[in-house]
Symmetry: C2
Subunit: 428 residues, 2 copies
């Protein structure tokens, strides 16, 4: 590993050890200092960001992408405000999750503790740099940030300001680090930093996430790939189904909890499909249908790839299924385990769908768009896990923690006959 | 991947989907059927085991290892009884972990669900084959077992009997699978089976665990490497410390929660060390000491490797430290994050040690030997996790589960202005 990388990784590790035992108040003070510093230095941030924007323009980046990249004073103020909101959230660290006095008198407690050093690899907007840092600090973790090279100047400036702001606080400034270099090599170093980094959270497209999972020796939490389904059951209220389908697909097509496929029971397909196709067409949505759907006008014939696709656009795949079980089998085969919805009046169908669909979230008679840390009341979200270990679904502050067992005795010894208390206790 | 491997992996995956929604009663019936079948066919198991024992003897295996491998009717009956005990444990699946009615009326629930397919790679005794299968089935998971090739005949027979026993039950017999082949290749296939296997749990020595972590694309839970420390504080009751040290080291030296290093504060070293060295010598323990410890007679000079070592034998490393903070720094550097103990009368020292030591378990005035699923009251244990993600410390049945979010509405749609309920609700 490069010396540059080792330097920031070790700095983060040392900071993590100092930060972990801090209670809530000094962490909140540090977050407010960061928010104030960001707001006060908005002009410098906008100036650094202008370099990223200029470079993007030279490289022929689309205006939509440039708008995602661009910061102005108002956006910087919103970023600072989001940090203040994180400061207002409860601290997960120190929460007693389980506890009892064991039969032998040992007092046993399981506490939430920080994970240590969290590596975040992300594409997209520079606000993630600050959001992720704030969530990590609040949960007592140091953070190694590896953002998009397209936002490197903005990220460098944001991290510099955060580090300077921490210098006047009890939180060590080393707790926020930008991974040096903009090369692919720096991502690799992060992925191989087992022992220095406790967990990696990749945030971005499927190819980024797959390459991290494939190559990383650091434990990974996969986030955000969403091939979400809406299943319209034989016993669905079809008008309700129509609203839920359209909302799930079209309310904000670019996000991971937008629907990418709908499945309709054969028993109601003849009635539902013409209405659904008309409504989706009104919304500008292109439907990629299997044979039975494509028999209707205006539908593009789907290939198998369409059923695997996370379009993130005004496209949706569609198929007719002969049973709830076939819908579940389709979702198990093609889905990404993010969010899948059923629309039905039947209690039995809802119960079966919920039991059989193996996804982070299952929605009944509701839009898939509600799978979100904000909607769930978490106050903030670092991403949506689509894996089964550690965290599944929207990840808030508790998902950025581990646990520690503590047991306290008075000379408890274990023997083959059971616990013995040492006879040697002096006065305590 | 070999066809043979894919066949068992797909069979496990299908079985997992059938098994996951089953409630407790049919799972318990299946476990009792397994226990009965094992007890009834003890003679066949002993016969298959005799082949393993004979092969081991031909290969010049030590008698101690052969004893670990050997099964007799009494041992088989104990294995069957352990399965009945798992049946008696509460079912973690379906537990509601969090739940609320959101401000918009959505009913939100987070439920425990099975992980899916669990791969277990293990060395050692054939009883693990049955123990691991029972814990996985109880928690609604299918299991792919890859035991030691030295126990292949025993494991094959045990799995055959378990599968046959399941055939008369509601649990699909495919839920218990032995990974075919005894080659290193079959371990590799398990490690690359992302999408087919949800989690891998390696149980064995450090080299096995490291190679799995290094090569696996399937998420891994590391278990069981224990370089546990006993720190004797400046304010320790020294007689109590002596008992705790000797118990932690010598009560059962071959297990992961046995102490492998002790650290003594410089302020009490002159008084403590002569007593400790005498007691450890009585117990047959060799002490590998740093310079200050090795100044005493009968101590072997320690190399740096000694402080990293998991001896699992009647050896212990020892060092004198100048402060609690130095003890913590030593543990952070050399420890494995399993269990570390402090002996002290000081409330402040205990509080600091607990806060600063970053391990799965921290013991205060108690032997390290208590870090154990049985002692913690879990009823059963699949291993002791020394990693921070998902599970940390002794893993019982809840640690073999994931979670699923379920939200139920009545036509809930998300808009930029907040939640809207579809106007189209018909009669339910």
């Amino acid at each position: 590993m490069s010396e540059e990388f080792l330097k920031v990784a070790h700095a983060a590790r040392e900071a993590a050890a100092e930060l972990a035992p801090l209670p809530r108040a000094p962490k909140d003070r540090a977050l407010r200092a960061i928010a104030d510093a960001l707001a006060a230095q908005a002009a410098q941030i906008v100036e650094a960001n202008a370099k990223d924007v200029e470079r993007a323009r030279e490289q022929g980046t689309s205006e939509a992408m440039i708008d995602r990249l661009r910061l102005d004073v108002k956006r910087v103020e919103a970023i600072a405000e989001a940090v203040r909101q994180v400061a207002d959230l409860p601290d997960p660290v120190g929460e007693v999750l389980r506890g009892s006095t064991l039969p032998n008198g040992l007092e046993l407690r399981q506490l939430r503790v920080p994970l240590g050093v969290i590596g975040i690899i992300y594409e997209g907007r520079p606000n993630v740099t600050v959001d992720a840092a704030a969530l990590c600090l609040k949960s007592g973790n140091a953070v190694l940030l590896r953002g998009s090279s397209s936002a490197y100047d903005s990220n460098t400036e944001l991290v510099r300001i955060m580090q300077e702001a921490l210098e006047g606080t009890e939180v060590p400034s080393g707790a926020v680090q930008l991974v040096p270099g903009q090369t692919r090599e720096s991502v690799k170093e992060l992925m191989r930093a087992r022992g220095l980094v406790d967990v990696l959270i990749p945030r971005g497209g499927a190819s980024l996430i797959n390459s991290v999972v494939e190559e990383s020796t650091v434990p990974v939490i996969e986030t955000g790939v969403g091939n979400c389904h809406v299943y319209v059951d034989a016993e669905a209220d079809l008008d309700l189904a129509l609203d839920i389908l359209v909302n799930s697909k079209a309310q904000r097509p670019s996000v991971c909890n937008a629907a990418e496929t709908f499945l309709v029971h054969a028993g109601v397909a003849a009635e539902f499909l013409p209405k659904a196709l008309a409504r989706l067409a009104e919304e500008g949505v292109t439907v990629h249908g299997d044979e039975r759907v494509a028999a209707h006008p205006g539908v593009v014939a789907a290939t198998e790839d369409d059923f695997y696709a996370e379009y993130l656009s005004l496209d949706i795949a569609a198929a007719v299924v002969d049973s709830l079980e076939d819908a579940v089998a389709h979702i198990r085969k093609y889905g990404s385990g993010h969010t899948d919805a059923i629309v039905t009046r039947s209690q039995r169908a809802a119960r079966r769908f919920v039991a059989l669909v193996d996804s982070a979230a299952v929605a009944v008679n509701a839009s898939t768009r509600f799978t979100d840390g904000g909607e769930f009341g978490f106050g903030a979200e670092i991403g949506i896990s689509t894996q089964k270990l550690h965290a599944r679904g929207p990840m808030g502050l508790p998902e950025l923690t581990s646990t520690k067992w503590i047991y306290t005795g008075e000379g408890h010894l274990r023997t083959s006959e059971g616990t013995v208390i040492s006879a040697c206790q002096g006065g305590n």
